[in-house]
Symmetry: C2
Subunit: 141 residues, 2 copies
DNA sequence: TATTAGTTTATAATAATTATAACTATGGAA
DNA sequence: TTCCATAGTTATAATTATTATAAACTAATA
């Protein structure tokens, strides 16, 4: 709680009740929530929360570099709180977006083909570990 | 023209007038159009074309593996006709999506961290060659 | 107290995409 | 030729994520 406030302050974001809760949810959640998932979680603690606040807060967080926006799913934006750059797996079975710790060979390159590279976004499509082991368990029956 | 028909037929897609024209546009265009860009181009030749047809056709093409869907821009889907897998640069200046021919070290890996990898999607964010040289020209004034 | 800036909320507007149903072209059977 | 089935196209409406707008609230400050 105190930690979260400090994190917000360090980015010059006024630590309102709503903002603290949203950051708390982002921190807890592993698989890259969309606005609606965050909103549903918030409702449990702040029943008067508005979806606009979630949108506003997330775009503030993104501006201040506190979260990264992932355009992996075509339907809606996903939000990523983890600090270090990394890649993702989009599971075509369960729909989750999962962190994958692989290094990109080009992660330290700032120039390719004359283009200036500022950010690397990579993701894999496939079937996640959990879904695979679920498949196996099914087959053994 | 004959080529385009053959391409469609080889994928079991009936080569209607509309479909041929859409494929033709995709082939000509380098920077990964969205539905509206394709629609606007089509209007010049088929003034009665419907946007629904563009959507239907592109989703057929995608199903049959003729195009790839890019979720790089958050606003809308972009379509990629090139056959070989490759990466992209999203220029934050001009908004274009440009092919970048870099190899991915993991392109032949089918398994990472126990997850099954079926497809690799990667893109870079930055400023493209053309925008950079435009900047330089400005400065010299 | 009155004022102000910053934050949250309710509500409406926008825009990409999908769903639905009517219309059209085509090719074969009768 | 006429009828019919099918696939493809079109117009239109519905859905849904996101953004815009303005009102209400909060906390700090003169
Ligand atoms: Mn992540
Ligand atoms: Mn491409
Ligand atoms: Zn899964
Ligand atoms: Zn550019």
């Amino acid at each position: 709680m105190e930690d979260l406030i400090k994190i917000l302050q360090s980015r010059n974001i006024h630590p309102s009740h709503q903002r603290i809760k949203i950051l708390e949810i982002l921190e807890k959640n592993e698989d890259h929530m969309n606005v609606n998932m965050i909103y549903e979680e918030l409702l449990k603690e702040i029943p008067t929360i508005s979806k606009t606040t979630v949108y506003n807060t997330l775009s503030t967080f993104a501006e201040k570099g506190l979260v990264h926006c992932l355009t992996i799913t075509p339907e809606e934006m996903r939000y990523d709180y983890r600090a270090n750059p990394h890649h993702h797996l989009l599971c075509t079975r369960c729909g989750r977006i999962i962190d994958v710790d692989v290094q990109c060979r080009y992660a330290d390159t700032m120039e390719i083909d004359g283009h200036c590279i500022e950010e690397i976004q990579g993701y894999f499509k496939g079937i996640c570990r959990e879904c695979l082991s679920h498949d196996k368990a099914q087959k053994q029956k």
